[in-house]
Structures are given as C-alpha cells and as structure tokens.
C-alpha cells in the first residue's frame, strides 16, 4: 500500500448537492479538492424526486415568511428560527441561480418555473396548501445534481472520484487535513488542508427498509463523532409515508401533491380522520404515524395486513405521464402493476436524518452545546444539522438546505482560508488508518463475524425497535442489542484481502459508522422523554416544551453516548399545538 501526499487549501468530502454547491463557491478562489466515494453524479441527491421549495409566487400569492412559518411548525418548533428565516429567504435566489446555470425546470404556461403542492406547505400560515415546490417532473434531485456537476465541470473543479475519506486530522483543536482510501488501487492519500467540509449525506442504512442508497452510511458524522465531536438531534429520523412495500423505494409526496390519496384496506381515505384540514398533505411524521396506526389496528391491506394503498387512479394517464413519470415507472418495474389503473401498496420507509453534525448558519462545525466553533471544519447537507428541520423536515426543504447551506459552507471555507496560513500535516497522519486496514486484512475470515451478518442484524433490530413508535422498553432492548453487535464488530472479519476495489473492506469500515449512528440515535431517543415531530414515544405521547424545547448533543462514550442539551433559538413563531 502506497502513501501519497497532496496539499490543498480546502477539501470538500462528498459531491452530492451540498458538496458541489460548496465547491462552486470555493473553487475559484483557492486550491480545492472535492473527494467523493462515488462518481459525483451517482450521489443520492440524484434520487430526489418531488421538488425544492421557494416562495417564488409563480402560481399564487406567496411569501417567504409563510414558508418559514410552515417550516417551523413542521419542525414541531425544534428548528432554530433565525436559521429557518435564512433558508426560506435565500431559497428564492437559490432556485433562480440554478435556473441560470441551466436546470431544466418544468414550466407554467407563461414560461415561469412551475410549482406544485407538497406536504405541510401552506399559504397564510395554514389557510390552504401552497404551490411552492419548484420541480423538474419528478426528477428534481437528478436535475439539481446534474446542473451543479455541469457547473463544476465548466469551472474545472478538481475531483478525486472514488476516493473514500476515512479519517480527519485535528491537532490542538485545529484542522490539518483528511486521509482517504483510493478504491481502484488501495493506496492511502493524505490531503493536507486547513479547511475541510463534510457533505457526506445521510445514513438511512441503519434501518432495513429505506429510501436511501447503500452508500449512505454516515461516514462524515461517524468520522467526527469518533474524534469527540457531538452529533445533534439524532433521535429525529424521518420515515417517509410512501415507500414501495418491502423495497422502501420512495414514491414522492409529489404524488399526493398532485392529488394522490392514501387508503386503507377498506378503501377509506383515513387521513381525513388524522388531519381534517390538509388530509393526505399533512407533514410526514403525522402521515407515517397514521399509517402505522392503521396497520396496528388491523386496517392494513394484504395477507399480512401490513401495508396501505397510494391511490393515483383518479389522476388520469396524462397527469401521471407528465408529472410523475419516474415514480410510476418504479412501480411498473418493481411491483409490476400499472398505477394508472391500480392503487400501489406502500409502507413508511426510513428516509431522512434531521440530526447530524452540528453547525451554525455558516456551516461552521460546533464542538459542543455552547456553540464553540471547531476551526477549519465545516459541514453541510443531510450530514449536518443547522438546525432548520428540527424534529421533522418538510418535503422539498432538503434540496433547499443543500444549496443554501452548501453555498454558505463554501463561503466560510473561503473566509477561513484567506485569513489563515497554509498548514502542515505530518507524514504519520495515515498511521491510524493504515493500522485499521492492516488489522482487518490480517484477521482470518469467519462467517460469524462477517460484515453482512452483523449489518443485517443491525438493520433488522433498528427496524424493529427504533422506528416510528418507540418506548423505554423497545429502546432499552435495542441498547442491549447494540452492545452485543458492537462486541461482534470488534471481531469483524473480511474475506477479500486484495488492494484493488476492496469494497468489502470499505463496507467493514462503513459498518463502524452505521453502529455509531445507531448508538447515538438510540441513546438520544431514550433520553428524550417526550414525543415531538418524528420522535414518538408511546410512554410519553405528548410534547414537553418545559423540559425538551432543546437540541440534544450526543458525545461518543464507548458504545453509548453522553447527552447534553442546547436551547432552541426561538423567533417570531410561538410554539403551539400542531394541528392540520
């Protein structure tokens, strides 16, 4: 294994929407590297379907303050309101900028960017559903990712494709650079760099049924967590109501935005009972709970009564073809039914991490609950927690988050790089990683301690005990299971001892991060004795603003986490009961 050293001013880890947007900001003014374990266009931003919200008011009167109101209410009042204001205000320019860079948005009759309805977005603070989501058919994320990558190609941004970052070097509290594994050779690369942004995306693969890519394993948050950086609000994980039954492949909320309806086994539109005013377009946490409740009350369809239907049959072939072509193709491909004529079996699917690496509104990573900034380290996108999504993210707000805060992280890197002198990283920077790899290569393979088996048990148990409804009992049980899995992981073995594309080796290291993500999630969930947004405790069914209007900060402590808390930054919206 060769060790190769590079020197940059700044490094961005991850080339999804957040990483690319940061790169566009930073690249013209510094020596920048973008390191990504996947080719950039394969990042999971490309899977996003429905849209990206901004109060453009192209269809009807709209205003970014209403967008902010909806985001705060949707977050169950856990979002930091000043950050939400930034998100919603800067949304407008962010969408326009993407159009200027060539994004092929769907258009209205008058040639302006088309906008559609989405869950939890309303006009006039709850009056009626708002047409706010800008979209490109149902492949909005694909077009955002393509457009940002195209922009980077035109600018000559330097990429290290299929390089996986596995370590960061922080000395005396200051960032020195990162260490990466080159997939095609097995060589180790040291990137000396005084500014590093993590934009590694989510970690839905801690659960069994997920809309997330196999590659979403929480590498960025894991790398920092292992260095003592806390993770914020990990108990808030979003389950999207409409994943294809068993597969978890997402069917965008745009389907309901265009008029799709959820029905139980009797054909009843059950959302009328749970959210009388906006029904099927209630926020995701509520709809997922409603589905789980229907199923537990015996109203689920199918032989195991474990799914409900998403009914698009009344929308007509034309709307489906023009506005929802991709998701209906997924149904044809994977379920072999024709959504124009038949309702689709769906169940909630693990979808989005509201929690992650704590940052301020400028993408600067915080090393504790007192807002202490970690110099030179930044985070953006789903890997980060600003927090604009609080306890529950509204649909379309993540594509927004990645461009708004991706840009801000890029600006912060620039500012830092222009104020500081180049750094030097020691030649021994690769030692920890080299040892970790050698250790895995040298151990003989045993079936019992294979990556596949341990990960399988992890995903199944998280699915069982830490999904939509949780309680002291299920979470304590999961804590024990995780302890056992961690012990097994200490002995993990791999079969592949080669250098070239040793993807099994990478999966073994990713499993460490998956365990970290699970441990911090379960510990944070156990400590939050209330129900808020996506976190529902059956033993504490109400929101408890007195004790828990707070962000949690989980610090790694062996196999578990120590928790500390930070007050939510409130603003003009007073917390009230969330009804729709």
């Amino acid at each position: 294994m060769k060790i190769i050293k590079h020197s940059f001013d700044g490094v961005i880890v991850g080339a999804g929407g957040a990483g690319l947007r940061a790169a566009i900001e930073a690249a013209p003014h510094m020596k920048l590297a973008v390191i990504t374990k996947l080719y950039p266009t394969r990042s999971h931003t490309g899977a996003a379907q429905g849209g990206m919200s901004a109060a453009l008011a192209n269809v009807e009167e709209d205003n970014w303050n209403w967008h902010a109101f909806d985001t705060v209410k949707g977050s169950d009042y856990l979002a930091d309101q000043p950050a939400v204001d930034i998100l919603c205000k800067e949304a407008i320019d962010a969408v326009i900028e993407l159009e200027h860079w060539g994004l092929p948005f769907s258009r209205l009759e008058n040639g302006k960017i088309a906008q559609r309805r989405f869950g939890g977005h309303t006009v006039k603070e709850g009056e009626s559903p708002a047409f706010r989501a800008c979209y490109a058919a149902d492949r909005t994320g694909h077009m955002i990712l393509q457009t940002l990558y195209q922009k980077c190609v035109s600018m000559g941004v330097e990429f290290f494709d299929e390089f996986q970052v596995l370590d960061i070097k922080i000395e005396d509290g200051v960032c020195k650079g990162v260490v990466a594994f080159e997939l095609s050779t097995g060589d180790i690369h040291i990137f000396e760099s005084r500014a590093v942004t993590f934009a590694t995306g989510g970690f839905g693969r801690i659960f069994k049924v997920s809309s997330n890519a196999h590659s979403l394993t929480g590498d960025g948050p894991g790398i920092l967590y292992q260095k003592g950086i806390p993770l914020e609000d990990m108990e808030f994980y979003q389950f999207h109501p409409t994943g294809i039954y068993r597969l978890g492949i997402l069917l965008s909320e745009a389907a309901r935005g265009e008029g799709g309806i959820l029905r139980n086994k009797d054909g009843e539109r059950f959302m009328e009972r749970y959210a009388p005013s906006i029904k099927d377009l209630a926020p995701r946490d509520m709809v997922s709970r409603a589905i789980a409740t229907e199923i537990s009350q015996g109203n689920g369809a199918g032989p195991d009564s474990d799914y409900v239907y998403l009914d698009l049959t009344h929308l007509g072939a034309e709307t489906i073809k023009k506005k929802l072509p991709d998701i209906t193709d997924f149904v044809r491909t994977y379920v072999k039914i024709e959504p124009i004529n038949e309702p689709i079996p769906v169940q909630p699917t693990a979808h989005y991490a509201m929690g992650g690496i704590p940052t301020d509104v400028n993408g600067r990573v915080l090393s504790d609950e007192k807002n202490t900034v970690l110099p030179g380290v930044y985070a953006a996108g789903e890997a980060a927690c600003v927090s604009v999504h609080g306890a529950n993210r509204l649909g379309t707000n993540s594509l927004l988050d990645i461009v708004v805060f991706g840009k801000r992280a890029g600006e912060s890197m620039l500012e830092y790089v222009s104020k500081t002198k180049s750094t030097s990283i020691s030649d021994s920077a690769a030692d920890d990683l080299v040892n970790k790899i050698n250790n895995l290569i040298e151990k003989d393979h045993t079936d019992e301690f294979s990556v596949g088996r341990i990960r399988n048990d992890l995903q199944e148990s998280m699915e069982e005990n830490a999904k939509i409804f949780r309680s002291e009992e299920t979470l304590s049980k999961q804590t024990e299971i995780l302890e056992n899995l961690r012990e097994r992981y200490e002995n993990v073995t791999i079969f592949d001892k080669g250098k070239v594309f040793n993807t099994e080796l990478m999966e073994a290291i990713e499993l460490d991060y998956l365990l970290d993500m699970s441990e911090s999630t379960v510990a944070s969930a156990l400590a939050r004795k209330e129900s808020r947004g996506a976190h529902s405790r059956q033993d504490f069914p109400d929101r408890d603003d007195g004790n828990f209007m707070k962000h949690s900060f989980a610090f790694k402590n062996g196999n578990s986490a120590n928790l500390r808390y930070k007050d939510v930054e409130l603003g003009k919206y007073e917390p009230m009961e969330r009804k729709y």
Partner: protein, 231 residues
C-alpha cells in the same frame, strides 16, 4: 427458488485473465439481480466486486451484461431473466476487477462535448422564461444517468474506442436543443470530428440498452442533422 449465477470474475492481483465462477443462491422471483449479487458478496464470497449505490435505477452505478444484454442489475428482477443467469462486465472499457470497469475514458468523452449551459448574457435577477414545449424538446436527454450502458453496447465503440460514443452525444443533445443555450456552434464542431456523431451506424443497440428509456439513436440523428445545418 434456486438460482444459478455464472459470473465472469477477474482479480488483477492474481489472474491473468477472466474466468467463470458459479454460485447457487436462494431467491424470490421479485428480487433484483443486484440483490443476488449482494447475497453472494455478503454471505458467501466477499471478494466479488461490483459498483452499486441507489438500488433503483437512478445512480447509474451497476450497468453490466446480464444474459448477454446491457442492463442495470438493480433494475431487472429475477423473474424477468432465464436461469442460470450469466453476468459479465460491460464491454469496451478496461475491466479493473470482476464487474468493475474503468469509467475514466467514458467520462473523458462526456467532458469533451462541453456538457454545461453556455450563455454569456446577463439573465437578470429572475428566471429566464422557457415554454414547456421548449423544455420537451430536450427533456428526454436530460434523463441520462451516465451509466454507460449505451456506449458499451455500441459495436462501433467496441472496435474503435476513440469514438466519442452515444452517451456523450446524448449529453450534447441535452444542450444543443435547449433554447437557453448558445454554445452549440462549438459543441457541434467537436461532434463533427472523425470520432464524433458521424461514426454512428444506427445499430440501435444503445436505444435498447438505455435503462432510462432515452431515444438514444434518435438523439444522435438529431445531433447529426443539426451538425449539417450548422455547416
């Protein structure tokens, strides 16, 4: 049901050339071929290497030859192919290990066509207007996920890897027919080259191979026509 997989394996550190390996797996008819590859990798033979990420046909990582045809392993179900299932890396790009090929030549061709919007005019502070009809003129080719299934199914590309290939032309098409773009002159000049669009002999393999259903051959024909008009 029992499925037999016959996979063309190559380990650059130990093999001089590729060889077939056989695996038996238990599978459900509704499972994806990718799920079967995972079963082998996770529970039987961790050395089997392939790329994958999204698992539902949107990232373009897992194009491979399945029973003789280019497909995404995550987009084909067990019940859609005959058993035993024969799996090989795509053709025309150098094999690095097992089902993984070197994507760099493919990405280089893509970058040659200037795959980005070119327009120096100040667009102002609102969106440019564009009619939905104008969007539809190039919408088909915006769907490309750069999986290389088309290019690696092309007989011209197999014999002359200097040919820029269908995927690059598809990505040129996406801009050439965008009413907002003004870079077509330069782009079409590049495509006029000996290794450009006119090497295409309309074999249609690319169109059948495209997992996104893009009318690849039609896009190439459109670009050829535009190139002639541009002369």
């Amino acid at each position: 049901m029992d499925i037999e997989l016959k996979i063309l394996r190559y380990d650059p550190e130990n093999d001089r050339k590729g060889h077939w390996e056989f695996y038996k797996v238990e599978a459900d008819p509704d499972e994806r071929i990718l799920d079967l590859l995972h079963k082998v990798k996770w529970f039987e033979d961790g050395t089997l290497s392939f790329r994958r990420s999204c698992a539902h046909g949107v990232c373009g990582s897992d194009a491979m030859v399945i029973n003789g045809e280019n497909m995404l392993a995550c987009q084909v179900l067990v019940k859609e192919v005959s058993n035993p299932i024969k799996i090989e890396p795509v053709r025309g790009l150098p094999v690095v290990k097992d089902l993984i090929v070197d994507m760099e030549p493919f990405m280089d061709s893509y970058k040659k066509v200037m795959p980005y919007l070119i327009n120096d005019k100040d667009p102002g502070d609102r969106e440019r207007l564009q009619s939905q009809e104008d969007v539809e003129k190039f919408e088909d080719t915006t769907k490309c996920i750069l999986c290389a299934a088309c290019t690696t199914s092309c007989p011209v590309f197999w014999t002359a890897d200097s040919y820029i290939g269908p995927a690059a032309i598809v990505n040129a098409h996406r801009f050439v027919f965008d009413s907002r773009d003004e870079g077509s002159k330069q782009r079409l000049e590049i495509l006029k080259d000996v290794n450009g669009a006119f090497r295409c002999r309309t074999a249609f393999n690319c169109t059948s191979a495209c997992p996104k259903g893009i009318q690849v051959t039609k896009a190439i024909e459109d670009v050829k026509r535009e190139t002639l008009l541009n002369n």
